[in-house]
Point group: C2
Chain length 309, copies 2
């Protein structure tokens, strides 16, 4: 494939600079304004400027591949064109959320929330994530990233999803209807579902009871998945071991919530994936995809133009 | 290989039960008292009863492999016999310490120590371990376990050891003499060294200065590796970002230490590897090795009888 690659528009200087660097790092040549007519690929460098696309693609008739900078391609849906290969950042943004889940699991199981608040030498405590039984509710991108990060830990992972179709890397898969069975005996339950009528308050008093007193709840999805009143009661009375929540209902969680006062409940301010974390991740994806393009290999994050995602 | 395996002695019921379960889980048959004469392998189930070994091995003449339950085999040195294959728990106990390091890295970089102590919604903050630059001082068992756990995170790992011989999984290796160069630009420095005259206070004011204000210090080795006065000053003035210490000098760290009062310093009570964590880990090793034995594969933790370790 040709190494001449356009990085456009230049309306967001920080992103533009990062992507041009990534193209060069991967061995590509960045097309200047004069070179746009010969560019074979186009890296789009401003998520908020889809309106500039028609003019720029018209000036770049040799382009065969367009890389978009985000996972959801809604602003580009009207521009998708089957004659081109389109890629987006699918999957990229799941990694920091999966990392947040790992941080939450390790903090809870190893009692780091206790040590972080201590002002004197504590008693020995903590359990291992190594070899633990982890149940993940949800079988999407966050779960796939999490399974990848968990791979060296020797955990027994159970995945709960709409259907019981197997998930690579999981020891067991259950349908959502069998969620109570799936959480029984778990050391931690991770919520990584989409929020629908079916999954709202999936973590209710009965599920917390089924999880049991050794189990941590880790919510990386939406506050609406958890019945917060039931959770507060379960945490107060030791029905479960503890909870780490990156999402609450509502957000921000008001100071009046009883959850703030519970030692076994840690709330992080929806930072699974922060604005700052995004740019390095999508820059890595651009570098990886430019390398694959130049080598003639399959690109990551391919968009199905017919389906529009 | 024969599936008849003796688990002896039965003087520690909890360990004996765990190991017999592991043998069965791996597909082996547990030899009862009557079956000892035909057992082909012996899993030793009491670290404090090496004195019983001569009598039991005499009653089990068909044994070809002996699995010992701990990493150091000192109590068995007099019984080692070159006609048998010996394995011990080498490497098993490094895993929980490496897990502690992962928990410390994630807590520090993702600001979980701040969130754990918060009683209201915080500002967005935190950085990724994904893709971070990590410098590990030490090239032994903990480092090997840590490199294994870090494998999916895409980190740029630098290892510092006595010599600059390469370490599998590390991007760069430096000799201890070049430690200042090795920590420059790191997002975190992990101490996993043995404590010797050469390594005492390796983390001093000058090294902290070289680490810089974005860098976390994580000490999983010995308190004597760190000059605590220099560390306190560096944490107060923002010379480094923060510290997570599982070891201090002295231990327990007295309440009068200024480190207790610093938000960017978390101290855990030497729990890299707790007493409770040991049994599940060695049980996993027994299960793994019985599976390998039955499949005719190489066993983990082989003891070199001639060398005695």
């Amino acid at each position: 494939m040709s190494g001449l690659i356009a990085v456009v528009p230049d309306t967001r200087p920080v992103m533009h600079e990062a992507f041009t660097g990534a193209v060069r790092d991967a061995g590509g040549e960045v097309a200047g304004t004069a070179g746009l007519a010969d560019a074979q690929a186009m890296i789009w460098a401003d998520p908020y400027a889809a309106n500039l696309y028609p003019e720029l693609i018209a000036a770049a008739p040799a382009v065969q591949w367009v890389q978009l900078p985000y996972a959801g391609i809604e602003p580009f849906v009207d521009h998708l064109d089957e004659r081109l290969v389109w890629t987006c950042a699918k999957g990229v943004y799941a990694d920091p959320v999966a990392e947040w889940v790992m941080a939450a699991l390790l903090m809870g199981l190893r009692d780091f929330h206790v040590f972080a608040a201590a002002d004197s030498w504590c008693a020995e405590s903590g359990r291992n994530l190594l070899g633990a039984r982890i149940t993940v509710l949800g079988g999407g991108g966050i779960t796939r990233s999490l399974l990848r990060l968990l791979e060296p830990w020797g955990c027994q992972v159970t995945v709960v999803r709409r259907t019981a179709d197997p998930v690579a890397g999981a020891a067991r898969t259950f349908a959502l209807a069998d969620v109570h069975q799936a959480v029984t005996g778990a050391d931690a339950v991770v919520v990584a579902l989409a929020l629908t009528d079916e999954t709202r308050h999936v973590v209710d008093a009965a599920l917390l009871e089924a999880m049991g007193q050794r189990c941590w709840l880790v919510n990386a999805a939406r506050g609406g998945h958890v019945d917060h009143d039931a959770l507060g009661a379960a945490l107060r009375s030791g029905v479960i071991a503890g909870a780490v929540l990156d999402v609450t209902d509502p957000e921000p969680l008001p100071n009046s919530s009883e959850l703030w006062g519970l030692e076994n409940c840690v709330i992080t301010p929806h930072i699974g994936n922060t604005r700052e974390m995004g740019l390095p991740l999508i820059t890595n994806r651009v570098r990886e995809n430019v390398g694959r393009w130049l080598a003639g290999e399959e690109l990551l994050g391919l968009v199905d133009v017919a389906l529009g995602y």
